[in-house]
Amino acid sequence: MSSESAISCRNAGKAFQLYLHRNDQLMQALFGWAKTFYKKHWVLKDITFEIKKGECVGIIGRNGAGKTTLLQILCGITKPTTGSVDIDGRIAPILALGSGFDGALTGRENAIIGGAILGLKRKEIVAKLDQIADFAEIGMFFDQPMKLYSSGMVARLAFAICAHVDADILIVDEALSVGDEAFAQKCENFIAEFAKRGTILVVSHGLDYLRTLCDRVIWIDAGVVREVGDPDVIIPAYKAAVRKDDEDEANAVIGGGQAA
């Protein structure tokens, strides 16, 4: 891995273990050395790519292609079954916004814990609390228990925390679909600003947005990298492929009715 690269993924693959019975998981944990109790289901196969520092890369692919699993591997949430992943720098994952919050605690307290999860010292995060509250625009709710928040407020606070941890690498998964127009715009502005100094990996179905933001896109299809390159080339190709798939499907329905 060169010192230039922020993320390097070599032949990474992920197989989930499918169990017939729930209790087979325990049997596997205890007696896995003697017998295999599961079937492997490969979600990702042989994924290899490198992202340089300062690059902004989009990931596209249809539902179920393995995008989220790939992000989970890159964040270190789950381990790849094969291959390896190297990350250089602090990651701020904006995955499912606000899923790690405790409703009984105030926004302020959750921000402190959220910052600690992302590796910030208490002092550092406390110094940034005002900025976070400003960015999230939740006003006096910052000191109210989060169970009183609307879902938009939760998402705004979560984004605000990730935006203020001084990460080197931002990993964004569809986060921008939450919140109202104005806040989505604010997030997009932040990401565009971040793109000037840091590395970004973003998964989105907003193809036009990716086209304006990204230097490169990675197209993942059925768990493998189908193409990597210039968004202006790949995204039209992807759109065409999706359209073709949809047409095939429609034809199959009209033709034989087998797909239905």
Binding site: F16, Q17, R22, N23, Q25, L26, Q28, A29, Q72, C75, G76, I77, T78, K79, I91, P93, L95, A96, S99, G100, D102, A104, L105, E109, I112, I113, A116, I117, L118, G119, L120, K121, R122
Partner: protein, 267 residues
């Protein structure tokens, strides 16, 4: 390659800010919505200790014959403090990962810290009970053994034992809910295999070595030595407990680490 003996500590040190933030949260939020707040943390052990003392005075159990009743109540309470820490953790560990599933699956939350935070929390409540016990001792026998200053040396290896147990049960509990049901059923029974209301020496000689295998019971005996009898536990016993607890600690950590990546997928 991190040293196998110190790796769990290095990881905990690395995540110390997170552990601190979560412990703080757990301690401050527990009594937040109550009017009396932290008074409850003292009230529960105090009430229990007073009730035990009263009942033992009225109806002295056979195992307490020949012992000053205040000492017997205090000895039982020492046993209860450590046993309750164990019971709470053992009953709760198997569901810990299920409770934190959003953290684990959706953010880069280091799941091994959950064992630290729950153990520290349980020890803090144990310490409150212990302080209550010392206060009551001052009140009843007007005396506290000077050897109590060595109690932290008992608690340290006890904590390692608890951490190892929590890691192990946490990982196992992630695979099947049966572990949770099992622990809830057997923990109360384990109390009878632990010298809480009696001393190991009061048992038939043939049974004693078996009961001594119960490390929680050994810690209870050592705690009583320091708190009530003003004497030091046998150094061999201490050393044995320390080594065994450290082994449980390392085993629990290895077990948890081994299955950590699988656990994320099965939760």
């Amino acid at each position: 390659m991190p040293n196998i003996l110190t790796e769990p500590f290095e990881r905990a040190w690395h995540h110390r800010e997170l552990i601190r933030a979560v412990v703080r949260r757990e301690l401050t939020s527990r009594f937040r919505d109550s009017f009396l707040g932290w008074i409850w943390a003292i009230f529960a052990p105090l009430a229990m200790l007073l009730v035990y003392t009263t009942i033992f005075t009225i109806a002295t159990p056979a195992v307490a014959s020949g012992v000053p009743i205040y000492d017997y109540a205090a000895a039982s309470f020492c046993g209860l403090i450590l046993f309750n820490v164990f019971a709470e953790l053992a009953a709760r560990s198997p569901t810990l990962l299920h409770e934190h599933v959003h953290f684990i699956k959706k953010s880069i939350f280091p799941a091994e810290t959950i064992a630290w935070t729950s153990t520290i929390r349980a020890i803090v409540y144990g310490a409150i009970s212990f302080a209550t016990l010392l206060a009551v001792r001052l009140f009843t026998v007007h005396y506290v053994s000077w050897t109590v200053i060595f109690v932290p040396f008992i608690i340290l290896p006890f904590m390692l034992l608890m951490l190892g147990t929590v890691w192990f049960l946490m990982a196992l509990g992630a695979f099947t809910r049966d572990v949770a049901h099992l622990m809830v059923s057997i923990v109360p029974l384990l109390m009878f295999a632990t010298p809480v209301f009696f001393q190991v020496e009061q048992l038939p000689a043939g049974l004693q070595p078996w009961i001594k295998l119960n490390l929680v019971g050994d810690y209870i005996a050592m705690l009583r030595d320091l708190v009530i009898y003003e004497r030091f536990p046998s150094p061999w016993m201490y050393l044995g407990c320390f080594v065994a607890s450290y082994a449980v600690f390392l085993f629990g950590y290895r077990f948890f680490k081994e299955y950590k990546s699988v656990i994320v997928d099965v939760l």
